[in-house]
Point group: C2
Chain length 396, copies 2
């Protein structure tokens, strides 16, 4: 069997719902042994639909390849078990509100003193510091506060959220980057450290040139539909059947495109002679092109434009994506056999490494599926002691 990136790395995973679990899923895909420590009620995402034979699709999509142990951290025995697991671990990850881990006596300072090699990753709405640190957060609140909603949607229409949970998922990816960074440092120094990721910080980082645009011009960027703020025509057009994304980034592509649509006169039109002019007069150009593009289907346009290397593409829905030949060829849709839900399709890993490929082999665990296994193999606790612990209700 191939080597994997994180062979021999063990993660004690206290994260719940989405931002934290997606980060530790990336680590699991890379081969880490991720032990999901759940409270007796379980990760609340187990209750999020849709369901198939009572198995949550939401939970399945971000917890594959992990093990589940149920420990009640509100009991002394439970906290002791967690500390024993940390003795055998490289990384702890959590996405509680700042302060919650302190109340359990499991804050970074305490753990770092006891386990100097341990890497402690915290992913929260606003980070561990600053005036909003103690506030709770959801993806939608963070999308609203982070600026992305203010530049998404149509001008003059109600706000829309980004349809994927970009507030959570960008924090997940930065959390994974932070953990791998700390691991690289520990490979040299032998010492772990704290990784403090804030969902709001990550949204700010994604704004990149929107901040430069505001800073240099004083103009506040606004939603502009499918259009690009400074390249034209670079937007979605309706066709006789389906929408087409058209991305004409320079004058030579523009001239070629005008040829395809048999409107060579547009090339010399004073309103459209350069990208800057096309952007300035985008409304006039749009109303001309909206008529033109309706004359063929999106498929027909692509058949004409692609051979000339004019960038264009369809707008795919989720069904189209799942069935797309490129997506399939890259193993980006994985089929798994779940013991009770049966066949499930979930996204694959985009981390394609030539020598240490990602491996997604196990579906997400049932609640407490690995409690006994972890206690007996990782902590070498015998069956009678496990029975005693279970009787005290510190494990399930």
């Amino acid at each position: 069997m191939d080597m994997q990136v994180l062979d021999g790395i063990r993660v004690i995973d206290l994260t719940r719902v989405l931002a934290g679990p997606y980060a530790t899923m990336v680590l699991a895909d890379l081969g880490a042994d991720v032990i999901k420590v759940e409270s007796p009620g379980g990760d609340e995402a187990r209750g999020f639909g849709p369901f198939k034979n009572e198995v949550s699709g939401y939970f399945q999509s971000v917890n594959r390849g992990k093990k589940s142990i149920v420990i009640d951290l509100k009991t002394d025995d439970g906290r002791e078990l967690l500390l024993n697991l940390l003795e055998e671990a490289d990384i702890i990850a959590e996405n509680y509100r700042p302060g919650a881990m302190n109340r359990l006596g499991l804050d970074y300072e305490a753990l770092h003193q006891r386990f100097p090699r341990l890497i402690y990753a915290a992913c929260s709405g606003f980070g561990q510091t600053g005036p909003y640190a103690q506030r709770g957060a959801y993806d939608m609140i963070i999308q609203g506060m982070g600026g992305v909603v203010s530049v998404t949607g149509e001008p003059g229409r109600p706000p829309v959220r980004v349809g994927v949970s970009i507030g959570d998922l960008s924090a997940s990816l930065f959390t994974a980057i932070g953990i791998l960074s700390a691991l690289h440092v520990r490979n040299r120094t032998g010492v772990g450290q704290m990784v403090d990721i804030s969902m709001l910080d990550c949204q700010v980082a994604l704004l990149e040139n929107a901040i430069a645009r505001f800073d240099m011009t004083g103009d506040i960027p606004e939603p502009i539909g499918s259009r690009h703020p400074s390249i034209t025509p670079f937007q979605a057009f309706d066709t006789r059947e389906g929408w087409l994304m058209l991305a004409i980034g320079n004058d030579s592509l523009w001239a070629r495109f005008c040829g395809v649509v048999s409107m060579e006169e547009l090339v010399e039109d004073v309103r459209f002679r350069s990208n800057a002019l096309r952007t300035e007069n985008h409304e006039a150009l749009e109303s001309i092109l909206m008529g033109v593009m309706l004359s063929r289907t999106a498929q027909e346009w692509m058949a004409l434009l692609e051979p000339l290397d004019i960038p264009c593409g369809p707008i795919h829905n989720v069904q189209d994506v799942v069935n797309d030949p490129q997506v399939k060829a890259r193993d980006m849709i994985i089929e798994m056999d779940h013991p009770t839900a049966g066949n499930l399709r979930i996204p694959g890993s985009p981390l394609k490494l030539s020598d240490t490929p990602s491996r997604i082999s196990e579906p997400a665990p049932d609640l407490g599926q690995h409690t006994d296994h972890i206690l007996s193999t990782v902590l070498k606790i015998d069956a009678s002691e496990i029975a005693r612990l279970r009787a005290t209700k510190c494990i399930l």
Copy 2:
């Protein structure tokens, strides 16, 4: 001076525009020595507005902390110089269309044979394999093909793009994860490998539970404005002044919220008694709440809701974000002094590591600013040889 994560790691950076440069910016923020190798015309993003004293804000926002050397890789001397630089490097990163590096004799197989420790990271529209591998791609085309556009925006309205370049930036973050993964493996094995990241793959990975929803129910997810598909009320509401994001995730929050708006009767209303019922009857609930929410300003609502821990928040534009006290407290807006553009504000790094913090100290380089410095310090080439190379036009 504090240690940084990637101290002593050198990146030869052939990337241009956005997806690649943002990935190597993350490495530069972590302390890597990133040498941006530009062709004589320079990264085309240097020509993207807005400008301040002819300095591109777009370019500045993703190239801070890098060095620039201009090498014409179409010349034999230029390619020889690049190979000499790779001898001194840990990582090469590129985001050309698959095939371009082969034509330069700089493909992974050739470089891996010559420099077995070198990590080779390629970030492309569709990846190095599969039927679309050879196609060019732009963020907007990938957003359209990757499914995110199909779930963003208002029902029945024209498609909108996500206002930040999620197609590029999610690939940047996975590229950084892939590079750090390969570095971790090399720390053990001494051998580098290829990291092959596809923008389309990354969009599929971000769809996570949308794929599960389609797979389990057969329903194709659609755009639903600011609303959450399975939690209600969880959306933006217009108020007397400004929009408010409201995120009421369970029945106890719902009861508390009904108290705040003095509509206790809604708690017992048979249409709204559970989250499932509220979601089923979201149109009826929306029309009631739309009226209610108009009675106060967003600020007034937040002053009432926040003390009760009812999740809510404003919709901030880019100016609000730049001036937000939490964003400032977390050093997420950095001011830099650029020699010709003067004071610039750009986003900070969300990678907050306790012992090896990110450091953003230098603005993005002018074209070829470090050509002589790199040739003389990294390659120990003397001034007369640099002059000879410059005369042959293989460097600028």
